[in-house]
């Protein structure tokens, strides 16, 4: 078990909302090995962000609750951590890069002031040392004029530069796990490619593990070793990257793959999965994907499928039941 860095078991999250409670995460199970990049894919609203925020204890305290399951980081259960214990992890052992570079930096503090936060919390360093560490990291992530940039404010930087700043913020204390929540979604395509390349490189250099959240299977193919496919708060399929692309088992994964644009048949119409992800309060008995699934049969509506596995390849679909329908 020692090569597993993060293990989530049967995680269930509940939110209190104006219209009562919803449970957008139900029975999520996955693990992340040391040195691995694990992709988490799924449409908007499938619960990717909520899952990753839970790892760092960043869900809103008053309105959210972990109703079941556990999270082990380096073999230690962390869901019962106090704020103080979480603070030791945050920005130190586990860092996170968020979706929105434009709003994720504080507009009234300089880049340098913001980047010194994790160093102040986790490292004993003099002001000089901190400044040097910050400039070093900024240079590593390809920021020109690093010495000047530390005295500038976020609004003076472009989106791509801000995301580089966010990456350097995450890297400052050389974390064991880097969680990236759609780090490139808000950037335009050329910048996106640069940032992905950069992240791949720093991951290798620093020997980190990465949890890479995205809704873009193209990005997953580029970055990840294994993939977890989430749908409506559940995991529907887990597989090695090649296995997933060559032999997808769950109809939802098949749909996602079919909706990828390919170069060879440019003229054919883009496929899209009909319908939308059900909202957490719309989920009842049976498979959550059944109402959009082209292969759904009676059982799918009646009973939630368990996880069927073929070696390391896991899928939650009644079609995979060995004895057939």
């Amino acid at each position: 078990m020692t090569d597993v860095l993060l293990e989530i078991k049967n995680l269930g999250i509940e939110f209190k909302t104006g219209e009562g409670t919803v449970q957008p995460i139900r029975g999520v199970d996955f693990f992340l090995k040391k040195g691995e990049t694990l992709g988490v894919v799924g449409e908007s609203g499938s619960g990717k962000s909520v899952t990753s925020l839970t790892v760092l204890g960043l869900l809103p305290e008053k309105t959210s609750k972990i109703v079941s399951g556990s999270i082990h980081f380096e073999d230690e259960e962390i869901t019962h951590y106090s704020d103080r214990q979480y603070r030791k992890l945050r920005g130190n052992d586990i860092s996170m890069i968020f979706q929105e570079p434009m709003t994720s930096l504080n507009p009234v503090f300089t880049i340098g002031e913001q980047l010194s936060e994790p160093l102040k919390r986790h490292k004993k360093m003099s002001k000089k040392q901190r400044e040097k560490a910050i400039v070093d990291v900024l240079k590593q992530v390809g920021i020109p004029r690093a010495e000047q940039i530390i005295d500038e404010y976020p609004h003076q930087l472009s989106g791509g530069m801000r995301q580089r700043v966010m990456i350097s913020l995450a890297l400052l204390c050389e974390p064991k796990l880097l969680i990236c929540d759609e780090p490139t979604t808000a950037l335009d395509v050329t910048i996106q490619a640069q940032i992905l390349k950069l992240m791949k490189q720093v991951k290798q250099d620093k020997d980190m593990s990465m949890l890479f959240i995205t809704h873009d299977l193209g990005v997953v193919a580029e970055m990840c070793d294994r993939v977890v496919v989430m749908y409506a708060g559940e995991i529907v399929e887990v597989a090695e990257i090649n296995e997933l692309f060559d032999n997808p088992l769950h109809p939802y994964t098949k749909g996602l793959l079919a909706s990828l644009p390919t170069n060879n048949d440019r003229k054919s119409k883009l496929y899209s999965i009909k319908g939308q992800v059900p909202r957490p309060n719309e989920i009842g008995e049976g498979c959550a994907f059944a109402n959009r699934c082209p292969f759904a049969f009676d059982k799918c509506y009646a009973k939630t499928p368990p996880a069927f596995s073929e070696g390391d390849h896991l899928s939650k679909c009644w079609l995979q039941q060995p004895e057939g329908r």
Partner: protein
């Protein structure tokens, strides 16, 4: 930035001009004051003569033109009562008014900003609800009524504080509390909502994910952002405090501009009223101007441009 300053200064002039115009006509339309200064049984000729002497017999637009020309030169005429220079009389009262307004503003900020921050941090707890409830009440209580209650309790019953006049710290306590009540209530609610707004921002989550403690999240990362709107409100409220001190000054016989204006209005001593309005309008507009500049200063997104 220079462009911005010139533009805003122009606005100051327009605001002052409009305020004077409106007050001039309102006050003239309410009748001329000659009868107030003469005995009720004064003969017609004497009234006419007096009106002519003061220039009230001429067409209104002529009087208005003359008033404006003089006003531009800082001449608002003499008090109809005492014959002293109107603007001079108003200026004499300014220090007392400033003293009261600044004291009230500082007291309000010292009390309200920490309360608002705490309320946001403890949102939806009993503390927060009681705080918000009280601040709604505080905003709704009329100034004069609250002032009278304070006089009743502390001056009449307990006899520990003076009820009127000026000159010492103890004279200031009750009027300052009275004047501050409204601002405190406003600032508490405003600070609370500004803080809540900021605490929900992505960048706060970023700092939290970087390991920031709750206290540095609130006192450092969130408060500095909230201060941008708060400073604007505080500066605007100084204008309200200076102008709105009229009632409080009257209730406590505080020797400031507000009380002078009140008396002069009752006496129909027009030159003083207009000089007072002129000063208050200028202060108000200038404070707005300063608020804008301050806002630009604390907000780097504006400052740099």
């Amino acid at each position: 930035m220079l462009d911005f300053i010139v533009k805003r200064l122009l606005q100051v002039i327009i605001v002052v001009f409009l305020a004077l115009t409106v007050v001039f006509f309102l006050i003239r339309l309410s009748g001329d004051p000659t009868t107030l200064f003469l005995p009720p049984d004064a003969p017609r000729e004497q009234i006419e003569e007096y009106r002519e002497q003061l220039g009230f017999n001429r067409p209104l637009y002529v009087q208005y033109g003359e008033f404006m020309i003089n006003a531009v030169q800082g001449d608002f005429g003499q008090s109809l009562r005492s014959g002293e220079d109107a603007l001079g009389l108003v200026m004499q009262r300014m220090p007392a008014t400033f003293q009261l307004a600044f004291a009230a503003l500082i007291v309000s900020m010292l009390i309200a900003i920490p309360l608002g921050v705490l309320s946001a941090y403890k949102r939806n707890t009993l503390f927060d609800r009681v705080g918000v409830g009280l601040s709604v009440v505080g905003q709704a209580i009329p100034n004069f009524w609250f002032g009278l209650i304070l006089i009743f309790i502390f001056a009449a019953q307990l006899q520990i504080l003076p009820s009127s006049g000026g000159g010492s710290i103890s004279h200031m306590i009750l009027p300052v509390i009275t004047l501050a009540l409204y601002s405190i209530s406003r600032f508490v609610r405003f600070t609370r909502s500004a803080m809540l707004d900021v605490l929900n921002q992505d960048y706060i989550r970023t700092s939290k994910a970087a390991g920031a403690t709750t206290s540095s999240l609130i006192m450092k990362y969130a408060l500095k952002n909230s201060l941008i709107p708060i400073i604007t409100l505080v500066a605007l409220d100084l204008g309200v405090l200076l102008g709105g001190a009229v009632v409080t000054e009257v209730v406590f016989s505080w020797p400031g501009v507000g009380r002078l204006l009140h008396q002069s209005l009752l006496n129909r001593d027009f030159p003083i009223v207009l000089a007072g309005v002129f000063i208050i309008a200028i202060i108000y507009a200038v404070i707005n101007f300063i608020a804008d500049v301050l806002y630009a200063y604390v907000n780097p997104q504006i400052r740099v441009k």
